[in-house]
Symmetry: C2
Amino acid sequence: MTARVRLLLADDHPVVRAGLRAVLETEPDFEIVADVPTAEEAVRLAARGEADVVLMDLQFGGRMLGSQATAEITARPGGPRVLILTTYDTDADILAAIEAGATGYLLKDAPPQELATAVRTAAAGRSALAPTVALRLMDRLRTPASALSRRETEVLQLVAEGLSNAAVSKRLFLSQATVKSHLVHIYAKLGVDSRTSAVAAATARGLIRR
Amino acid sequence: MTARVRLLLADDHPVVRAGLRAVLETEPDFEIVADVPTAEEAVRLAARGEADVVLMDLQFGGRMLGSQATAEITARPGGPRVLILTTYDTDADILAAIEAGATGYLLKDAPPQELATAVRTAAAGRSALAPTVALRLMDRLRTPASALSRRETEVLQLVAEGLSNAAVSKRLFLSQATVKSHLVHIYAKLGVDSRTSAVAAATARGLIRR
DNA sequence: CCCGCGGTCAACCCTTCGGTTGATGCCGCA
DNA sequence: TGCGGCATCAACCGAAGGGTTGACCGCGGG
């Protein structure tokens, strides 16, 4: 298994790009073909077929999301594998990335060695998950109760933005009774007993955005 | 101004440490004496007087906070300058760091060149702030109305974590009347009328941590 | 085919929260 | 020296949110 792995790095932090270069260039079987600061450029370069694995961040200072870029890259058959490398390990992020077709999900606090083996694993087409991430997915499968329904997520999202029950009901063309009903179910699933703690719990678990 | 600058790097991400090394070692007048993965070690090494500037992250995977470490390092007279290097630019973080005695506050998306000049500025004893950070501070000075007091921020932080008024009052050893009083003032300052919208507004403006 | 679940709504009761008024002590600054 | 902001607390009231029960519909899987 001495196949050379051609890498494309995508991260908006110059320091992180330099760090990844420094860490991965020491591996004799790795070749870094480019490092780019935006998701758009990652998509563009990935389409050229010069890389086997794309190491990509999820957050790119505001613009296009890493998960979006991942979807575009993996949509093209014969394209490179995508390995997500991020600081966050919330459910929403992980699921979005996996649904987008990512081959692996790593956390930035991973030791260099783990990183290198994950890259080789991904290059071989097998999935590479950080232990923390794997655990989280197991949890989710074991207790599907913690998963909110689409409508519930929609309601909670608006609540998190500060809307009252009345405001939510108007926005979603519902009666206040329905909104309250949804909230009661949400509280039960999250194991809380108020709107603010529901928002806190949901953001902590990455079920809703910000 | 060819004085050599001795640097100590503190960050829990191996990749970031490697990146900082790679970026800063190219500067001929810099010398990196050590890089450590914890705030505790940063404090210990800083006390040995072998560094002029400490480049430190604020978040260290759960344990001791960078602001705490900063306070301990700067408490010792004749110690090194502390330069905060983090991903976040919320008011609370910035103020905590500056109050702890940090000489500068940089964001991780800064280009390498900016980083190097900031280090030299700090070594010379002058404060070095990222443009975004400086802007935020100016804003705060210009419109002190939007700035929450220390106590108010403390209360709102707990509210954001989902605590009820009763729970907040117990946690802070206050009466519920006081908590409500603080909240009323917070609502006025943020221009909102409920706890959830206060949390939403405050997180949007970076007044509290998430 | 029917059960379960998601989504919708109503009526009810009780707790908490929101808003006001008013008061005290402390500290810094003019 | 006094004003104003911060922090603390009390009492009160109305409104919003929280909790329960019960009901209806549509849809998909056993």
